[in-house]
């Protein structure tokens, strides 16, 4: 295992976690539709109990995404989280609200009342995907940070990474392209949420509404998504030369797609999967498997976007304040020893995936119904 291989391997794993996270944000997407789809209390209970059995996966994937990034690319972890402070903090606030809302909403004595907790779910469903999408977009658009490792030799001000402006990450929202990807992720997650409901719930009122909702969300999704893809293909990208010097290269990401055709293939396959899942679910009244096509498609699309921004001599976390502060796999990764040790640990990941699939299938064998929710021992 060479150092370079390990860097690429860990970038792949981090990217995979990021891709799975965007898929699992169907929980958030579904929650953002809580009041749009659920016309009465019973229907909303059904929706909440559907995503409520999966929210912990999303949450865990978010945490593990952070942990894996920390272990494998610590300089990204410190620079981005410590710099884009407000962007991450707002994301985290909404996830905190979400974490208690399922468990608390129907319990007696919950202080704030059921509606409030349901609105917390909606807020997380709106803000979470939008800002996470925006944060991922900064991998292409750049962020306003400076890195000077020499600062450790300064005993008065030894902090290595700093943000070059006072808004600490909120400035990311001023770049329209970050918002474009944010909204694309947001609408995609709503689509995935509806597709999951179709798969997981059996209810004659609710499900046709989900199919209509997919259609409503698909149009803005396609507009935002295509706009962002167009931007990525046409824009100048942050490239790295053999000496590790960063420079701007026209059509960098287009070149990356063309120079790594496997990733291009995965990307196209993913797009086709998403479209197939959407179209078939909108036009067939009985089709329930759309979530799998669109879900796997989402994983492939997000994975390939992560890969083209990390591989092929590209800076994955570029600095718009100081080009040479930009982060690349090589200049931000952990030591060879740590990457190798963690690579051994990663051998366990297939086992983890296996029991997740096993437990998921055990719980999802039959779609949930209004009757079940009323007779179940444990419901939200």
């Amino acid at each position: 295992m060479t150092y370079e291989f390990l860097q690429q391997y860990w970038w792949f794993l981090v990217s995979l976690l990021g891709a799975l996270l965007v898929f699992l944000l169907f929980v958030q997407g579904g929650n953002s539709l809580l009041f749009a789809l659920g016309k009465n209390d019973d229907e909303r209970t059904l929706l909440v109990n559907s995503t409520g059995r999966k929210w912990e996966f999303t949450f865990t994937t978010l945490v593990t995404f952070g942990g894996a990034f920390f272990a494998s690319f610590p300089l990204f972890y410190s620079t981005s989280f410590g710099g884009a402070y407000w962007l991450w903090m707002i994301i985290l606030f909404t996830f905190v609200l979400q974490a208690v809302s399922y468990e608390f909403q129907s319990k007696m004595g919950n202080l704030l009342g059921k509606k409030t907790y349901q609105w917390f779910l909606v807020i997380n469903g709106l803000v979470g995907p939008l800002l996470l999408g925006g944060a991922v977009a900064t991998f292409f658009t750049g962020s306003n940070f400076l890195i000077d490792k020499g600062n450790m030799g300064n005993e008065v001000m030894p902090v290595v990474s700093s943000w070059a402006n006072g808004s600490h990450g909120l400035d990311a929202l001023l770049n329209p392209w970050n918002l474009v990807l944010g909204f694309a992720v947001f609408f995609l997650n709503r689509i995935l949420g509806s597709l999951y409901f179709i798969n997981n719930i059996k209810d004659e009122q609710l499900i046709p509404r989900c199919r209509r909702q997919i259609f409503i969300d698909a149009i803005p999704f396609l507009l935002f998504f295509l706009a962002f893809v167009g931007y990525v293909l046409l824009t100048k990208g942050y490239a790295v030369d053999e000496q590790g010097v960063i420079f701007m290269e026209p059509y960098k990401y287009l070149h990356n797609f063309l120079e790594m055709p496997v990733i291009l293939f995965l990307f196209i396959l993913g797009v086709v999967g998403v479209l197939y899942g959407i179209i078939k679910s909108v036009f067939s009244k009985t089709y329930r498997k759309g979530i799998w096509f669109a879900g796997i498609g989402t994983v492939l699309v997000v994975l390939s976007l992560f890969l083209i921004v990390g591989y092929n001599h590209t800076s994955y976390y570029p600095s718009s304040a100081d080009l040479q502060s930009s982060l690349t796999l090589a200049n931000s990764c952990s030591s060879m020893f740590t990457l190798k040790t963690m690579a051994y640990v990663s051998v366990l990941i297939p086992f983890v995936l296996a029991y997740i699939v096993y437990a998921w299938r055990a719980l999802n064998k039959k779609p949930i119904t209004m009757d079940e929710i009323k007779n179940e021992d444990h419901t939200y």
Binding site: P74, V96, N154, S335, H378
Partner: protein, 502 residues
């Protein structure tokens, strides 16, 4: 003029982290303890097939779930705060510290989140056996998670298995097993997880005692007390034992923490232990700290002034000398980087030599005033006494409750039931006090001797951190109040009503 870090930024960053950690530790220990107790109860149900035990299990699982959610909510913030508020720390040691966090996510969190869902929603969907396995695996996941996060914490108290790399300007891992199985981590794991079990036992015994006081759910309460008290005796004895081992470790590895916890200004041989104020037990501190009746225990002044003999025969350096050597290391690092830039091999080798010689004191170079090496003594001193005193009381209580339960007299002893009920808040206080000793007692270090908190932070505006502090304070406090209200309602409603509702 040099730009320097605003001290109020350090204070607010610490306050925010302390707030998150303390709230997190209000919910997690009960989760750890109840997980095991539920596991035992469901095993009884699995073996006997009695619906009574299913109800008992489900009741405690409801309580578990309410706690679990808030534990997760506060936990995610803790993990990300290493990045958001302690970014320089994350840069400086992420190569070592990130690994346990990632492993925790991969191995533990997925296990917890997968099987907790089966535990709640699988009663009518999976086999009894699979369900029982899921309940246990939820607890196992939580416990594995505790292992890795305590490995991470122990590493900050006692950094091992790493080497400083001047080219990347960070510490890098060179021995994974030294980190993952550091003696401090092993002791901390048992001490901390068992303290969670103790809290779980206190909670179960306390709540069950309340039912006895109210003459409700008597059979349920007796069954719960039997398991809770037995479990509590075992766990609390292990807590005491590991606490003792931990004392020796701290005396050796973090002597300033020990001195602060004892309020010991001037040490010596055969030092007595201060119970409170003037009540002292002769020689006891030497016994506790060194397991030797005449063992040498340095006091705060000894540690600052140096000059005493270390166990390895060397003479201890004074704080000033350590600071001096730390500054040398920092200057050498700057020179090393300069030499690399200028491609000056001789200067590079020179700087590297000075750096290596002084590296053990690197963190001292960022210390401005030797006095800041002394942690807040009063807080550490009293927290230590509260922790130890309550720990002893819990052992006694469990034994007494267990004994009278066995003699079938406990249900007729309302005074003891009241004591058990009011011990619940004491359990929480003991847990918090323990972490205060561990964390306040190691100030000013983020990593012992390697990085003080003022060099570990993110460069933010103090106002930003103040604002997020208050947002968290409000958020967590509302969550805590809601959680307590929900638990009280659920407990008042009791186990049988839950059964009827189902």
């Amino acid at each position: 003029m040099f730009e320097s870090i605003d001290t109020s930024l350090i204070d607010w960053s610490r306050a925010q982290f302390a707030l998150t950690a303390m709230y997190h530790w209000l919910f997690v220990p009960l989760t750890l303890g109840l997980a095991m107790i539920m596991g035992i109860m469901e095993t009884v149900y699995y073996k006997t097939g009695s619906v009574f035990w299913k109800n008992v299990t489900q009741f405690w699982q409801t309580i578990f779930g309410i706690n679990f959610a808030v534990g997760i909510a506060t936990g995610i913030i803790l993990e990300f705060e290493f990045g958001t508020n302690w970014s320089n720390y994350s840069m400086f040691v992420g190569d070592i510290f990130g690994a346990p966090l990632a492993i925790e996510g991969i191995l533990a969190f997925f296990m917890e989140s997968t099987f907790v869902a089966v535990m709640y929603f699988g009663w009518n969907k999976v086999s009894k056996k699979f369900h029982l396995a899921s309940t246990w695996l939820t607890g196992v996941g939580a416990t594995i998670s505790a292992w890795w996060i305590l490995v991470a914490n122990s590493w900050m108290q006692y950094p091992v298995g790493m080497q400083f790399n001047p080219d990347t300007v960070r510490n890098e891992m060179v021995d994974f097993f030294a980190v993952a199985f550091s003696p401090m981590a092993v002791v901390k794991f048992f001490h901390t997880v068992m303290s969670g079990w103790v809290l779980g036992a206190i909670f179960v015994v306390g709540v069950s005692s309340w039912y006895l006081l109210k003459k409700r759910h008597v059979e349920f309460a007796k069954a719960s007390i039997k398991i809770g008290a037995t479990f509590g005796i075992v766990a609390s004895l292990i807590v005491a034992l590991t606490g003792d081992i931990s004392g020796v470790q701290i005396a050796k590895l973090q002597p300033m923490k020990m001195a602060a916890a004892e309020g010991l200004e001037d040490g010596g041989n055969g030092v007595s232990f201060t119970v409170v104020d003037d009540i002292k037990i002769p020689k006891m501190l030497s016994i506790l700290a060194t397991h030797d009746i005449d063992g040498y225990v340095p006091g705060i002044n000894n540690l600052l002034n140096g000059g005493y003999k270390l166990p390895n025969g060397e003479t201890a350096l004074s704080a000033e000398e350590k600071i001096e050597r730390g500054k040398k290391a920092i200057v050498a690092l700057a020179n090393y980087r300069k030499a690399v830039k200028e491609n000056d091999a001789a200067a590079k080798a020179d700087a590297k030599k000075i750096l290596d010689e002084n590296m053990p004191y690197f963190g001292y170079g960022y210390i401005k005033d030797p006095k800041s090496l002394v942690p807040p003594v009063g807080l550490t001193f009293w927290s230590f006494r509260i922790m130890v005193g309550l720990g002893g009381f819990f052992i006694l209580l469990f034994i007494v409750v267990w004994w009278f339960h066995r003699k079938n007299k406990y249900q007729d002893m309302p005074w003891l039931q009241k004591v058990a009920l009011w011990t619940i808040p004491l359990g929480y206080i003991a847990c918090q006090a323990g972490w205060i000793v561990a964390e306040v007692g190691r100030q000013p270090w983020a990593i012992q001797d390697m990085l003080p908190v003022n060099a570990a932070i993110s460069k933010l505006q103090t106002g930003s951190v103040q604002l997020t502090f208050f947002i968290f304070l409000i958020l967590f406090t509302i969550m805590l109040i809601a959680e307590i209200c929900i638990m009280v309602k659920s407990i008042k409603k009791g186990p049988e009503e839950i059964e009827q509702q189902a």
